[in-house]
Amino acid sequence: MTTMTMAPPAVALHGVSRVFGRGPSAVRAVDGVTLDFPRGSWTAVMGPSGSGKSTLLHCAAGLERVDAGQVLLGDTDLTVAGDAELTALRRTRIGFVFQSFNLIGALTAEQNVALPLRLAGKRPSRSAVRATLDAVGLADRARHKPRELSGGQQQRVAIARAMVTRPEVLFADEPTGALDSTAARTVLDLLRAMADAGQSIVMVTHDPGAAARADAVVFLRDGRVVDRLAGADARAVADRLAAWER
């Protein structure tokens, strides 16, 4: 947190809590987390299973209601935004990538990529869509449906779909979780190039190798931020994770 403190963070969480269930069986998935995700930087969130990392990501992206605290995307307070406002944000300022790709099976790769723009009422030019697909190396697969693509290719289409709106922040939940190591490396290279070009990325992962590609790693345990590493290699990340898993 040196130079990054100059610019306002891409996403800021202040005392955010999210509780599932009620009474004695209630689980505090996120427990009073205060955290900044710096602008123009790639932050990985790690932690043991059940540490609340996915819930934290969902809260930060406005997909999950919070029980306490505040989530700011730039200067927009997501915790008070209504459904229409959140929908508009998903079209313009937030992009998502998930472990299970979540492409629409009925649509071709280029139709999937164009979808967020069309939902926003724009008529994206074919060349703009092709350019986005080209950026993830899939210009030649534009007319294929998801089931005709490999897992890695599907994930790259999902990234193209997330990036086509030029979002302020890209949220990625285990983006390499369902991929083999070669496909995972391609996807991580892509994310690295995007971050280097100034894209803010928040990524949840359990893979130290993936986390090590990020600019910083935040460790979560029992819903709380317990540690933070910057510029560490995979070995250092793995050691730290192992320490917290113990």
Partner: protein, 616 residues
């Protein structure tokens, strides 16, 4: 959005074929019933044909609305994950709604395009049935009207849009996060809409049950016959709560497959309820209405048996004979009565009976005083009990002359009876001799104490066909029941078939989205045949629950039957068509069993690994 609708249609074709089929058959049924009703109303057909077709049209519209909306709701429910995904990438609630309404519009138009020609086939089938049962003359044909095109397309589109409206509103509220869960979170089971609909129709069914015994013979019967429909909708609305509970009580047999089937029934409440819904309506309508019809017939026959003090019935006039104490010769004359005046003027076709009041009173146990030019209201009702009515006797065959008797005072009334009968009692002297001679006469003969019954019978046989009162009642009951059955077949036959197709539809739609679940079961160690057997057990449990719930809805109608027959005749009567009930249950179990086998066999065609490895 229309482009996405089209892409969606192409992708999820099994869901949409089911929805399309429900619209097409619904349109066909409504179109055919409407065309036949219009044709019958214009033609010179049996009096029963027009009201019967009216009921058929009402039933067809109800079934079409019901089956289409439940099929559409189910298809939308099966796509929650897709819709959540759309929300995740920036789709608004309005866009989800518009997408679903766009699909419904396409399905409505497509369904109508198939339904219009299919309706012609349905019409020739219905016409054939009605001609065969002589509800219409042999030369009766349902006529095509050009405007029916507009009506049918409108029916398809309106039913499809109305069917998806509630489901679309519900789907638009789906949260984007649901896209991230593997199977999509189960939707809330009992929505506010379900509660409102359930309680509303429960109120309607209760009101009919409560009011029916006070409605007199005709009104009471009509109300009791209408209980099954709202009762069925009530049970269906509470289906997601009731079906799984009952299904779990079914005997699954021991073992792991039974346990798996039981767990699936508990887990997939919406699916179970969607499969059960058309079955519940089918059972409730068929069993409830035929049971009520048969019960009212028995009740009416019982009432006649108790109130008639005669030994023989002769289909001819009978003079005084040795051994005979009383003869009530009753001549049946078709008549038309006009009541009220000005705007309230109403013309009704009735049967008038020319009687000897003293003999009639002795045989039927109810005193009638006919004085001067007066008439009496008969057991068939339809005539006011005081004031005057204008009476016109009709010719006995088309074209033959009748007789206008002018305004006659109503001076007496006999109690209305469950079995109906003549509406007007008059003296033979009021009827022109030419009519009286030709009209059919039935004589009720009571013997003197100690008379030789067989000798009198032989003597009476010289006048016309003789039967004992018991034989005559039995023949009457058989004829009425046969008419009942024919009416039910015309009114409910095709509707029942449609509901059955609705059941198959729901099962096919349910199975289409279960490939992955089946594959998971197989990689866990189940063989393909075990998966199929477990799905079959589940189908039987849901069918069993639907049979019970359909019976529950039908029993609401039976409750109204019991209270109405008790109020009208003094004896509560329930006479159920057990062979029909058994046949309906057997058909339901066979259809769901075979459908389950075919769908689960087809869904497990590919090796499980190809399904589990390839994911979107």
């Amino acid at each position: 959005m229309l482009g996405m609708s089209r892409a969606g249609l192409a992708e999820r074709w099994t869901l949409f074929v089911g929805a399309l089929l429900s619209v097409a058959l619904g349109v066909a049924l409504v179109q055919s019933s409407l065309l036949l009703l219009i044709s019958a109303a214009g033609a010179n057909s049996d009096d029963a044909a027009v009201p019967m077709l009216g009921i058929t049209l009402g039933g067809a519209t109800f079934l079409a609305g019901f089956i289409i909306s439940s099929t559409f709701a189910f298809t939308v429910d099966q796509r929650r994950r897709d819709l959540a995904l759309l929300r995740l990438v920036g789709g608004s609630r309005g866009q989800v709604r518009r997408l679903l309404l766009g699909e419904a519009l396409l399905l409505g138009l497509g369904g109508a395009a198939i339904g219009v020609p299919a309706g012609l086939g349905v019409m020739s089938l219905q016409t054939w049935l009605m001609r065969r049962f002589e509800f219409v003359p042999p030369d009766f044909v349902g006529e095509w009207r050009m405007w029916i095109l507009g009506v049918s397309i409108g029916t398809g589109v309106v039913l499809a849009l109305a069917g998806v409206l509630v489901a679309a509103r519900r789907a638009a509220r789906v949260r984007p996060l649901e896209a991230l869960r593997e199977s999509g979170a189960a939707a809330r089971l009992m929505t506010a809409g379900r509660w409102v609909a359930g309680l509303f129709f429960l109120g309607g069914a209760l009101a009919l049950v409560i009011v029916a015994p006070h409605g007199g013979p005709a009104g009471g019967q009509a109300m009791a016959m209408n209980v099954a429909m709202p009762a069925a909708v009530t049970v269906v609305a509470f289906g997601p709560l009731l079906v799984p509970v009952l299904a779990r009580l079914m005997p699954f047999g021991g073992g792991v497959l039974g346990a798996l089937a039981r767990a699936n029934v508990r887990d997939a409440r919406r699916r179970s309820a969607s499969v059960a819904a058309p079955l519940i309506v089918l059972i409730a309508l068929v069993v409830g209405n035929t049971g009520a019809g048969e019960s009212f017939t028995s009740s009416g026959i019982g009432e006649v048996a108790r109130s008639t003090h005669a030994d023989f019935v002769v289909e001819a006039p009978v003079p005084a004979r040795p051994g005979v104490a009383t003869v009530s010769s009753e001549t049946m004359l078709p008549a038309e009565i006009v009541t009220g005046s000005g705007e309230d003027r109403e013309t009704t076709d009735v049967t008038a009976l020319a009687i000897n009041p003293r003999a009639y009173a002795a045989v039927h146990g109810t005193p009638v005083e006919l004085t001067g030019n007066g008439v009496a209201r008969g057991p068939g009702g339809e005539v006011p009990t005081d004031g005057s009515v204008r009476v016109r006797l009709l010719g006995l065959s088309p074209g033959s002359p009748g007789a206008d008797l002018g305004d006659l005072p109503v001076v007496a009334a006999v109690p209305e009876m469950m079995s109906g009968g003549a509406s007007l009692l008059m003296l033979p002297g009021q009827v022109p001799a030419a009519l009286l001679e030709k009209a059919p006469t039935r004589s009720f003969v009571a013997l003197e104490p100690g008379a030789d019954a067989s000798a009198v019978r032989a003597d009476l046989a010289r006048f016309g066909p003789v039967s004992t009162l018991g034989e005559w009642l039995k023949a009457d009951a058989e004829e009425r029941n046969s008419t009942n059955d024919k009416v039910m077949l015309v009114v409910l036959g095709l509707g029942g078939l449609y509901a059955l197709i609705g059941v198959i539809n729901s099962m096919v739609i349910g199975a289409a989205t279960r490939r992955r679940e089946f594959a998971e079961a197989r990689v866990t160690g189940l063989t393909r045949s075990q998966v199929i057997r477990s799905a079959l057990l589940e189908a039987y449990a849901v069918t069993g629950a639907a049979l019970l719930l359909g019976a529950l809805a039908a029993s609401a109608a039976f409750f109204a039957v019991l209270s109405t027959t008790s109020a009208v005749t003094g004896t509560a009567t329930l006479d159920l068509p057990w062979p029909l009930i058994a046949a309906v249950a057997a058909v339901a179990l066979t259809v769901t069993g075979v459908t389950s086998l075919i769908t689960s066999w087809s869904a497990t065609r590919h090796p499980p690994v190809t399904l589990l490895a390839a994911r979107e």
